[in-house]
């Protein structure tokens, strides 16, 4: 099975798509990249292989295997192919890596692509964080939207989201302190999971004209970002920065308009 052809259905702008490619590059697995041209007009191939979520990335392995959800793909690649391990060996360390990857996706992820399609499909909802005792807080996954909102809103509203994001980023940074990569000496699962911060975040900051992650405030995260984006295997599957910048710049107005419609109304 490991000899069968591997394909990735991806999208240029998407950091989630990059995760799938990064895993394959790190393992040294050759693959064919099939880029979606427009996520508002999804290909038959994508819809056929990810009927449940209709999202990129999708990994196709041979004729019969389609794997969806970026982190599920990364673990699949780790288990199905030979090559340097992406997850650590120790069960407690593996649990920690999975925990922080989930933290990234729940609390801090930046993905304008995913957010855009959620808002236009009406499935996005900013839920006031209800810390009601005894109740699992609904909309926990919506916390990640705070990052997006921190980028594209202004004034008091922005300040609130920025505060939340900065706290979460500090927690994440703690995991790479004193290490070259989140995975230690080698790039691993958590580095791949955090890749949006290394490459996409600086682009968003430039387009938005905000500075959330500075080297002064986040020395370890910034150092890690340089290490990650200059890593040989990773470099090969990072989208060209200038092109990414151009594409996001072209959509800035729509990002701002969307953030305005998403931000909760100010307290009376």
């Amino acid at each position: 099975m490991s000899g069968s052809a591997v394909k990735v259905i991806g999208f240029f702008d998407s950091p989630f798509s990059h995760r799938a490619e990064a895993a394959l590059c790190l393992k040294g697995v050759p693959y064919e990249l099939i880029q979606e041209k427009d996520l508002r007009n999804k290909s038959e191939l994508l819809l056929q292989h990810n009927p449940v979520h209709k999202k990129v990335p999708v990994l196709l392995h041979g004729d019969r295997r389609a794997v969806c959800e970026s982190l599920v793909i990364v673990e699949y690649v780790d288990e199905a192919f030979q090559g340097p391990p992406l997850l650590p060996a120790d069960p407690a360390d593996r649990a920690a890596a999975r925990f922080w990857a989930r933290f990234i996706d729940d609390k801090v992820t930046v993905n304008p692509v995913r957010l855009t399609s959620q808002v236009s499909s009406g499935s996005f909802e900013v839920v006031n964080r209800d810390r009601s005792n005894g109740v699992h807080v609904p909309g926990r996954r919506q916390c990640s939207k705070a990052f997006w909102l921190a980028m594209w809103t202004e004034g008091e509203v922005q300040r609130g989201f920025v505060k939340e994001i900065k706290e979460n980023l500090k927690l994440l940074e703690g995991q790479v302190k004193g290490k070259r990569f989140f995975g230690g000496d080698a790039v691993g699962y958590l580095d791949v999971a955090a890749s949006a911060f290394a490459h996409w975040l600086p682009v968003c900051e430039e387009v938005a004209g905000v500075s959330l992650v500075t080297a002064e405030e986040y020395p370890d995260l910034c150092r890690w970002a340089k290490e990650y984006t200059s890593h040989d295997a990773v470099k090969r599957c990072l989208p060209d920065r200038e092109e990414l910048l151009a594409r996001f710049s072209a959509r800035k107005d729509s990002f701002v308009a969307m953030a305005r419609s998403m931000a909760p109304a100010p307290e009376k």
Binding site: Y76, P91, F103, N133, H136, P138
Partner: protein
Amino acid sequence: MAGEKKQGLQLLDFWVSPFGQRCRIALDEKGLSYEYLEQDLANKSELLLRANPVHKKIPVLLHAGRPVCESLIIVQYLDEAFPATPALLPAGDPYARAQARFWADYVDKKLYDCGTRLWKLKGDGHAQARTEMVEILRTLEGALGEGRFFGGEAFGFVDVALVPFTSWFLTYERFGDLSVEKECPKLAAWAKRCAERPSVAKNLYPPEKVYEFICGLKKRFGIE
């Protein structure tokens, strides 16, 4: 005495939590003994705050004092830390494991949030939640296919992820004015099959008790 405790397993949990129940069921399926520590979520203990400083939530598993957080991460941890016990993720089959992770993730992403909207919201929000709930249940039934369990013949990872929510079906039915039996008979049959397992029977609360709990919450937060 304290030293003895530190070698073993402890679970910080809250009785009605379906996420906590996943861990209880997994521990029992694996024949692992543990100390259950009920948490007061209105008044969180030092132990909980130290064990899960990031989210301050249950469940948390403590293994020789080291915390593991997030229910599905705990279940995978138990598989990996205790390889001699019955595996919940299919061993040695990366694709089957990927499928299991995908569907457990689907349950996490969709079911609880939709259920909450179903009992909290009115009007359009409620109507949308009802439509979504039916779609979610039908999608899960599709994933179940013709198997006895989600993994096929053996009770596994996805079953553990979903089964605690079967106690919530009655609540969803009453607030959503729907019938799981009618919409998804295979899923309803799967729920009955799971309920026969000692690990499930022991750790799930009767559906009426869950419904009562939710009604209590609604009163407390003034949602009528």
